[in-house]
C-alpha cells in the first residue's frame, strides 16, 4: 500500500506471474521501456494494448510573466507526453468507484450543504498522499450520510416527546384548576373566567416554550456531532420541569386573587337566586318565615352588590375579562406586578395583548424601557376610543405592533 515499486520489484513480480526467469524478465522490461522511449523520442505515438496509449503532443509557444520580476517572457513550444490508459486498465483501477453513476441534479438542490462538504472531503482526499484513506473517505462520508437520517429522526422524536412533556403540565394544571375551582366555588362554575385563566396559563407556558427552543436547536447541532444525547436530554427535561414549576407558581398567584373575587360574587349570586326564584335552599328555609331577616338579607344583598360594583370599578383587572372592550371613557388605573405586564393589561382591558403600546404611550412620562418597569408602578389604562382604535380591526392591531417596535427602537 502506497509503496514505490521500482524496476527490480517489477521484475520479480513479473517473474512470479509468468513463471519465467528473472533475467529474461529484466531483459524484456529494459527493452520494453527502451523501445517505448525511443519511439516517443522519434515523435511517435505508442499504443500498448495492455497499458494504454502514450501520445507525444506539441505545445504551442506562449507568452507568460515571471511572477517574481514581472518580466514578460515567452515559453518556447515543446512536446509533452500524454498517457491515456487503456479502457480495461482504467476500469480495473476505478473498480472501487465503479458503482457510482452520474446523476441529474434538480435545480433547487444546489444549496445542499452536504454536496459541498462531500466535494471538499473529496478534494482533501485528492491532496492526501495516502490513497488508502482517499479510497475509504468517500465510503465513510457515505456511511455518515446514510446514518444521518437516523439521529435526525431521533431528534425529532425527542422534540416531540419534549413538546409532549411541555404540554403535559398544562392539561394537568387545567384539570386541577377546574377541580379546585369546583371545590372552592361550591358548584359555581363560571366558565368564562375559567377559560380565561387557562388562556393565561397557556400564554405563560408558551413563553417558557419559546425560551427553551434555542436549547433544542443547540441540542440538534451537538447531537449530530457527538452521540451523547442522554446528557442533553436530561438537561432539557430539567429545563422543562423548572418551567412547569414556575408556571405553577404564577398560576397559584393568579388563582388566589381570582378566588377572592369569585367567592364574593358567589355570596351575592346565591342570595339573588334565593330571592328571585323562591326556591329555597336548606340554609334559607330558616330565614324565610321572618320578614326582618329577609329585609336584612336584602340589605346584605344591596351592600354586597354595592361592594361588588365598587370592586368592579376598583379592580377591573379580574372582572373585565368578561368584557374585553369597555364602552365607558373614563380611565382605569392598574398596577404593574412581577406577573402583570402591560401586555397582560392590554389583553384584559382591550382583549388583545398587542395593544399594549397605547397603555405605554399614555404613561410614557413615568415609564422607561417597556421591559424594565418596576413592579408596583401605577399606570393609567386609557380607553381605546381616545386613540380611535378598534381592537377587532386587524389593521389597528398591525399599527399597534408597529408602534411597539418603535417604542423598543427608542431604547436601543
Amino acid at each position: 500500500m502506497n509503496e514505490k515499486i521500482t524496476l527490480p520489484t517489477l521484475v520479480s513480480l513479473l517473474a512470479d506471474k509468468t513463471g519465467k526467469q528473472k533475467k529474461q524478465c529484466e531483459d524484456f522490461l529494459r527493452e520494453f521501456f527502451n523501445t517505448l522511449v525511443d519511439a516517443m523520442e522519434a515523435g511517435e505515438n505508442v499504443r500498448i494494448k495492455s497499458l494504454g496509449t502514450f501520445k507525444v503532443v506539441a505545445v504551442e509557444p506562449r507568452k507568460s510573466v515571471n511572477v517574481n520580476t514581472g518580466e514578460q517572457m515567452e515559453i518556447p513550444g515543446h512536446n509533452k507526453i500524454v498517457f491515456v490508459p487503456a479502457k480495461e486498465l482504467a476500469e480495473e483501477v476505478n473498480a472501487p468507484f465503479a458503482m457510482f453513476e452520474s446523476i441529474e441534479i434538480p435545480d433547487n438542490a444546489l444549496e445542499d450543504p452536504l454536496l459541498s462538504s462531500e466535494s471538499e472531503s473529496a478534494a482533501q482526499a485528492e491532496e492526501d498522499p495516502l490513497l488508502s484513506s482517499a479510497i475509504s473517505d468517500p465510503s465513510e462520508s457515505e456511511a455518515q450520510a446514510e446514518e444521518d437520517p437516523l439521529p435526525s429522526s431521533a431528534i425529532s422524536d425527542q422534540t416531540v416527546s419534549a413538546a409532549q412533556a411541555e404540554e403535559g403540565p398544562l392539561p394537568s394544571s387545567a384539570i386541577s384548576d377546574q377541580t379546585v375551582s369546583a371545590a372552592q366555588a361550591a358548584g359555581y362554575p363560571e366558565p368564562d373566567e375559567d377559560s380565561d385563566e387557562n388562556e393565561q396559563e397557556f400564554e405563560i407556558e408558551n413563553e417558557s416554550g419559546l425560551d427553551s427552543f434555542p436549547i433544542v436547536s443547540q441540542l440538534n447541532e451537538e447531537h449530530t456531532e457527538t452521540r451523547r444525547n442522554y446528557r442533553f436530554l436530561l438537561g432539557f427535561a430539567c429545563g422543562v420541569a423548572c418551567a412547569a414549576v414556575i408556571c405553577l407558581c404564577a398560576y397559584l398567584f393568579f388563582f388566589e386573587k381570582w378566588v377572592a373575587t369569585v367567592s364574593e360574587e358567589k355570596n351575592t349570586e346565591v342570595s339573588v337566586q334565593a330571592e328571585t326564584s323562591g326556591q329555597l335552599t336548606d340554609a334559607d328555609v330558616r330565614q324565610v318565615p321572618e320578614p326582618d331577616v329577609l329585609d336584612s338579607d336584602k340589605k346584605d344583598l344591596i351592600e354586597a352588590s354595592d361592594a361588588d360594583s365598587k370592586n368592579e370599578q376598583m379592580a377591573k383587572t379580574e372582572q373585565t375579562a368578561e368584557v374585553p372592550t369597555r364602552p365607558s371613557d373614563e380611565p382605569v388605573y392598574d398596577t404593574i406586578t412581577k406577573t402583570r405586564y402591560l401586555t397582560t393589561m392590554a389583553k384584559e382591558h382591550y382583549g388583545n395583548y398587542n395593544l399594549w403600546p397605547y397603555i405605554y404611550e399614555e404613561n410614557k412620562a413615568i415609564l422607561g424601557h417597556p421591559d424594565r418597569i418596576r413592579p408596583g408602578t401605577k399606570v393609567i389604562v386609557p380607553p381605546l376610543s381616545k386613540y380611535g382604535v378598534n381592537p377587532s380591526d386587524p389593521d389597528d392591531i398591525a399599527k399597534a405592533k408597529k408602534k411597539g417596535v418603535e417604542i423598543y427602537a427608542r431604547y436601543q
Partner: protein, 90 residues
C-alpha cells in the same frame, strides 16, 4: 506505433517469439493495474512513474440538455514522465 509493431520490435531486439513478448506485455499490464489498485506507485527509472489519482466528484452542465449533472469521483492512472524523458522528447 501500434501494439503489433511495438511487440514485433521488442521480439526482434530480444530475440524471442512474439507470443512470449505478447504474454509478458499482457502480464505487465496486469501487474501495473494491480499495483495501482493497491495504491502503489510504479516507478521506472528514466521513463517515469505510474501513479493512482483520485478525481473528485464535480457538478457539470450537460452540453446538449443543459441539465446539471453530478459526476461521481473516479480513480485514474496518472503517468508522470521523468525529467530525462521530458528533455529527450522536447
Amino acid at each position: 506505433m501500434d501494439n503489433r509493431t511495438f511487440i514485433d520490435k521488442i521480439a526482434e531486439k530480444t530475440g524471442r517469439s512474439r507470443e512470449e513478448i505478447s504474454d509478458l506485455t499482457e502480464s505487465l499490464g496486469v501487474i501495473v493495474a494491480e499495483a495501482i489498485k493497491d495504491g502503489d506507485i510504479v516507478a521506472i527509472p528514466s521513463v517515469g512513474t505510474f501513479e493512482p489519482k483520485l478525481r473528485a466528484e464535480r457538478i457539470t452542465i450537460h452540453p446538449s440538455s443543459g441539465k446539471k449533472m453530478l459526476i461521481p469521483p473516479k480513480l485514474t492512472i496518472n503517468f508522470k514522465p521523468s525529467s530525462l524523458l521530458k528533455q529527450k522528447i522536447r
